[in-house]
Each structure stands twice: as structure tokens, then as C-alpha cells.
Amino acid sequence: MNKQEFILNLKAKLSGLPRQEVEERLSFYSEMLDDKTEEGLKEEEAVAQLGSVDEVASQIIADIPLIKIATEKIKPKRRLKAWEIVLLALGSPIWISLIITAFAVIISLYVSIWSAVVALWAAFGAFVGCAIGCIAVGTVFTIGTNALTGLAIISAGLVCAGLAIFLFFGCKAATKGVIALTPQIALGIKKCFAVKEKA
């Protein structure tokens, strides 16, 4: 890939972002590539050193706050005429609620991922509860009339305890995973905004 292709590809990946921001970034990379080639590097080599267009674009998108990206998306591309402003004001009950909905969707996405983790921990709690309950009840039975049933219940309790220990590690891993994943989810959402939809 030569310099021009790199810059054009990158520009396409960032087309939905604030224009000034993108221009500044592109001129930064373009200067970098010029300086590298000036030192005797081939254009293709210089481009390869920057990493793939996707990587560079992801880093840039991760850098820009979601709010900035979202408002750029909503902002009109030209000055509004008077009647459009009137219409916007009249229509505010609709579009404001639409924006709120969009944010609600994003938040609910997070919540649903976290609720899976919460459910896992709840299952863990249930097993612990069962283990304690079974062992207590089983002990009472064993000491009392029915020793055989009692032992069976105790063993069931021990099985629960074992499963709980297993699940504990699973829960811990899942929680860590979701925490590690959070920035990537944010990046994914931003990426949806970053590319301009085709008119």
C-alpha cells in the first residue's frame, strides 16, 4: 500500500468523525510518512511501519470520546433554515426521545452483559446455600431416625459444595472477562458511529 492509499483508506474509515479532527490526524500521519520516506525508506515500508489501516483507525476511534462522536452524528452538515429550526423545535418531543432511546439501548447492552455475570454469581450462591442446607438437614436426619436418608442428603450437600467451588472459578473468570471486554464493547459502539452511512 502506498501513502495515498493508506491516507484514503483511513479517511474512509473515519468519515463519520468530526471533520477537523480527522483532517488533523491525517496530516499528522502524512507528515510522518513523508519524513520516513525522506530518510530513505520506501513508501510501502513506511506505511507498513504504521500498522494496518484498521489498527490505526481503531486507536483513533478509541481516543475520541463517544459523546463527541455521537453529537457529530446528530449535528446538521449545513446551516439550518428558519423553518427547519421551527420544525426541529416542534419535533423535539420526538427526536429528543429518540436520542434518549439510543443511549438507553447502549446502557441496556451493558446491563444485559453484566446481568449474565450476576446470574452466574447467583447460581454460585444457590449452590453454597444448598450445600449448607443439605449438610445441616442431613446431619439432623443422621443423628435422628433415618441415618440412610441423612447420609444421602449430606452427600448431596457435598456435591453442591463441590459444584460451588467449581463455579466460583468460572464466575471469577467471567467477571474478569467482562471487565476486560468493556473497553472493546465501547470501541465497537463507537465504530458503528465512525463510518458515515451511505446516502
Binding site: S27, Y29, E31, M32, D34, D35, Q59
Partner: protein, 106 residues
């Protein structure tokens, strides 16, 4: 290395790279290379942040028929480097304390 720590170090390294004379993006990366690795996008973010914090100023200079941005350190930027040195004098004495046993055992 811890991400937060590296971020703070990179800020000071970039400031140091432009301390003695104004420099430009590619040269900053090259000068830092032997000590700490920095990607182009990271450098851009840091330069922006330092500019917003008034630690450096930017000007465009013509170079070989194109524009190149030169970064110039401000008083606040120089102050940041001095703060860093003071902080790390402290850190180094703590480091000595932490590694004292290792040194004695050798």
C-alpha cells in the same frame, strides 16, 4: 509496565525530546526509540494533551515543499520535567529500600 505509569513517563519523555530544540513528530519518536517505545497514534494523543495543558506550542514550518509541525516546549513544560525529577528522586530512594535485601544477599 503499568499503563498509567507508562502514560506519565511518555509525557515527560516527549517533553524531554523537545527540551533542547524544537522537534517534529518523526524525530521525537526516533529520539525516544532507544529508551521507550511509542506508536504514532500514541504520540499524537500525547502531543494534543500537552498542547491543551499549555506545556508546548505548535508551529508549521515549510520543509521541502510541504509543511512540518514543530513542537516548542513552554515554561510549564519545563516545570513538568523538573517535577518529574523531584518525584523520581523520591521513588529511587524507595527503590533502594525495597531492593536493599537483594543487594545484601548477593
Amino acid at each position: 509496565m503499568d499503563i498509567q505509569l507508562k502514560r506519565g513517563l511518555l509525557d515527560v519523555c516527549v517533553l524531554t525530546a523537545i527540551k533542547n530544540e524544537d522537534s517534529y513528530g518523526y524525530k521525537i519518536i526516533k529520539d525516544m526509540m532507544p529508551y521507550i517505545e511509542i506508536s504514532e497514534s500514541t504520540l499524537y494523543t500525547i502531543l494534543k494533551r500537552l498542547e491543551a495543558a499549555n506545556m508546548l506550542t505548535v508551529r508549521s514550518v515549510e520543509h521541502g515543499g510541504r509543511l512540518r509541525k514543530y513542537y516548542h516546549i513552554t515554561k510549564a513544560g519545563l516545570g513538568r520535567i523538573e517535577d518529574f525529577k523531584d518525584e523520581w528522586r523520591e521513588v529511587m530512594s524507595i527503590y533502594k529500600f525495597v531492593t536493599k535485601e537483594d543487594a545484601e544477599n548477593e
